[in-house]
């Protein structure tokens, strides 16, 4: 839940730009030095991994990476195997699984954010009875652990849900027929990308709604009233006013969700149903070293290939953390 705390503080600093003692302390020299030391310590293992990824297998097993300069045995072979494939345990290059992971991660990030933003707006600004209760119920759903739902969800996807002979939720294996008309085409959820998107969406929603709601609810009331006076309905207010203003919140949640889904192994492993065609990168990485760990030298190189895309996402969205879109929109 540290991610959760991080977002709230980030959003907090976006909203309030007054000076305070904590802020002063954090920008002091002592703090900078501490941060520098901590960051260096934290980076050393990654750096070691990076150095090892360019060393031959024999060199890695016989000497430490810190002696790399005195025992030079450099090679691009690990990267060549990972990127081109074609060696005995990497027939299909790892790049294919990067594509799989993207096909899983991008929708599994966009779907929950879209739903959560709409829900958050409705709870915060559409007055209806029991909106607080709805909000707290959703918030409370966060306590449901993901692991608990693996078997029920898997069985829902593969067999639907029925009580006795009454089908409550059908499988779409034969499509959906209503009054003799084929409404939906045949579609198998189990073993398909949808089976991975759905659990990720479900488990992202409570936190996403909570975070985005906090942000949207804090928008100035005058803004909503102004758009109402201008004749905008809820949909227009949401798309034209609220969404552009919430970009920092949406982007920060997008980063967390993207990283979470990208690094996920359990959901991908359980719901991909063993199909090579949709298997995420993490699952392939977990298999890569072999049952007896004889090919673990490939892990160093593939770890960096796998890290590349989250880094790109992080750096391209990171500016939204800092930028305050609200500045000057309303007099307060």
């Amino acid at each position: 839940m540290s991610t959760h705390a991080d977002t709230t503080t980030t959003m907090h600093s976006v909203r309030t730009r007054h000076d305070n003692p904590v802020r002063d302390f954090l920008s002091s020299k002592a703090a900078s030095i501490a941060v520098f030391i901590i960051a260096t310590l934290w980076t050393i293992p990654t750096f070691g991994l990076f150095v090892s990824s360019f060393r031959t297998k024999d060199a890695v097993t016989s000497t430490g990476w810190w002696t790399a300069l005195s025992n030079p045995a450099w090679t691009f072979d690990n990267y060549k195997q990972v990127i081109l494939g074609g060696t005995d345990n990497l027939q299909v290059p790892l790049v294919n699984y990067v594509v799989n992971s993207l096909a899983i991660t991008v929708p599994a990030t966009i779907i929950p954010i879209t739903l959560a933003a709409m829900a958050a707006y409705a709870i915060a600004w559409v007055p209806f009875r029991g909106s607080d209760a709805v909000f707290f119920t959703i918030f409370g759903l966060q306590v449901v652990p993901l692991q608990m739902s693996l078997i029920p969800l898997l069985s829902l996807f593969s067999q639907g849900w029925s009580i006795g002979k009454v089908t409550i939720i059908p499988t779409f294996d034969n499509g959906l027929t209503l009054f003799g008309h084929q409404v939906l085409p045949a579609f198998k959820i189990a073993g398909n990308y949808a089976a991975i998107w759905l659990p990720h969406t479900m488990f992202a929603l409570p936190l996403a709604i909570f975070l985005i709601h906090n942000f949207i609810a804090a928008l100035p009331r005058e803004l909503m009233e102004a758009s109402k006076v201008d004749g905008a309905n809820h949909f227009l207010t949401f798309t034209r006013v609220v969404l552009p203003l919430s970009v920092p919140a949406l982007a920060s949640f997008a980063i967390f969700q993207f990283l979470w889904v990208w690094n996920d192994l359990l959901v991908g492993m359980t719901f991909a149903g063993g199909s090579d065609a949709i298997m995420p990168l993490t699952y392939r990485l977990a298999q890569l070293s072999g049952s007896l760990g004889s090919h673990w030298e490939l892990l160093t190189a593939s770890a960096f290939v796998a890290m590349l895309i989250p880094l790109i996402v992080f750096f391209s969205l990171q500016r939204f953390f800092v930028r305050g879109l609200l500045a000057g929109s309303v007099k307060s």
Partner: protein, 446 residues
């Protein structure tokens, strides 16, 4: 542009290297032996297993011709979370077609779910013809046979150095008494005969459970062994405490251990991988460890009856059971009754498939299928192991701690053995009794 062209060239070369052997092989495939399995064009069979590449590559290569001739596609999925994932997938209604299950306990659990399908007639026929009754019993649940074993390994081995045995004029022992005499003989040479290590990360202690199992099987036979594994004979019973006493006189004897490493307590802190590395160097004379230990010796070590290292059969103690063999293996269990699944399951239990698999092995792979000619194995050790595993006169028992409830077999049995080896006064009767009672206390009641 230069580097890019270089990459393209290497890629093309790599592709050519892959493509060539396949195209040349397909021309020479003899489809006659595969005719009995019929035409299965367009069908897919999904195998779920804990065997990962590169080990799995040889399994896949061994069925490549079968795929070509029948037209079936076999999808091999290896996962190091196999044990937990299989349970989740079976309960969630998306079970694999075939699962390669390494523990008889897990196999029984899968049968209990009602989703596992009894083996087809072809597999049953192969099992009756090529496996011993002891092996068949491990995948028979309520009178129904659920799947033939695939590979098998043997634990009842003692690694030694033929080179140094020759140098000191020592002979390989045939009985337990001879082995103890040999140990004393080495002590008289001023050396420690045995080395051992039970360290193995979170599974530290398992090699010691193997020693307990070997001795129980040798001293009291299969009946007591089975009743002990089932929890009916307690650890604190006179038999099992006697087993512990024998073990303490053997591998806790300060004169015997720990050769080249340290004292008795060092057994608990030495990893099982490192324990026997002194054998080819002449620092240690004997190590009790399974057949797969051969992979631990450094490259270039000659594993042969007259080489740097080899193994002899851990001798029997009681003449009633002259060839007690303890080992492990895995079973192929089906979850879908369909012609293509049955065909693959039957094929993978046939001598044809297993011989293909054995021929391509680089050593260290054996099966208990007696239809595989011993000459198919590439190394002398594999040939010896295979002979023991498929011997109908042998008393075969599966690794007992794997079949005990996890709280004991993968819990207190390991930890208490570790505590025993690292504690003070391990040979005292009171220590033995308290260790045995501590394990009994953790046996689940329900």
């Amino acid at each position: 542009m230069k580097p890019r062209r270089l990459v393209a060239a290497t890629a093309a070369a790599a592709l050519a290297a892959i493509a060539l052997p396949i195209s040349s092989a397909s021309a020479a495939v003899n489809c006659a032996p595969y005719k009995q399995y019929g035409k299965l064009t367009g069908k897919t069979v999904h195998i779920f297993t804990s065997i990962l590449s590169p080990e799995s590559d040889i399994y896949m290569k061994a069925y490549a011709d079968f795929e070509k001739c029948t037209g079936v596609t076999i999808q091999w999925e290896g996962s190091n979370d196999f044990e937990s994932q299989l349970g989740v997938r079976v309960a969630g209604g998306s079970a694999p077609d075939l699962a390669i299950i390494p523990q008889p306990g897990l196999l029984q659990q899968m049968v209990k779910t009602g989703k596992a399908v009894p083996a087809p007639a072809g597999v049953v026929a192969n099992a009756k013809k090529y496996w011993t009754a002891d092996w068949r019993a491990y995948s028979t649940v309520n009178g129904k046979y659920y799947g033939a074993p695939l590979s098998a390994n043997m634990k009842s081995l003692v690694w030694y150095s033929p080179k140094f045995f020759k140098k000191y004029k020592l002979t390989v022992p045939k009985t337990w008494a001879e082995m103890m005499k040999l140990s004393d003989q080495i002590v008289k040479l001023g050396q420690k005969p045995w080395c051992a290590g039970i360290g193995s990360g979170t599974a530290t202690g398992w090699p010691a459970t193997d020693w307990m199992e070997e001795l129980t099987l040798r001293m009291y036979g299969p009946k007591v062994y089975d009743s002990w594994v089932a929890g009916k004979t307690k650890f604190a019973s006179p038999q099992i405490e006697n087993v512990m006493k024998t073990l303490s006189k053997w591998l806790m004897n300060p004169k015997y251990v720990n050769a080249g490493i340290g004292d008795v307590k060092s057994i608990a802190t030495t990893t099982f991988q490192d324990a026997g590395l002194g054998i080819p160097k002449g620092k240690c004379f004997m190590l009790q460890q399974a057949s797969f230990y051969g992979a631990q010796f450094p490259q270039g070590t000659k594993i042969a009856p007259s080489g740097d290292v080899f193994a002899f059969f851990l001798p029997s103690i009681n003449k009633k059971w002259p060839i007690p063999v303890e080992g492990g293996g895995e079973f192929i269990v089906s979850f879908r009754n369909a012609p293509e699944v049955n065909a693959v399951q039957t094929f993978m239990s046939s001598p044809l498939y297993l011989t293909n698999r054995a021929k391509d092995s680089a050593g260290g792979w054996t099966t208990a299928n007696s239809g595989v000619p011993v000459s198919a194995y590439p190394t002398p050790l594999d040939r010896m192991v295979a002979t023991y595993l498929s011997n109908p006169k042998a008393t075969f028992r599966f690794d007992g701690s794997d079949a005990m409830p996890a709280a004991v077999g993968a819990g207190s049995f390991w930890t208490q053995m570790t505590a025993w080896f690292s504690g003070d006064n391990p040979q005292a009767t009171s220590t033995i009794d308290s260790i045995a009672k501590a394990i009994d206390a953790t046996w689940p009641t329900a």
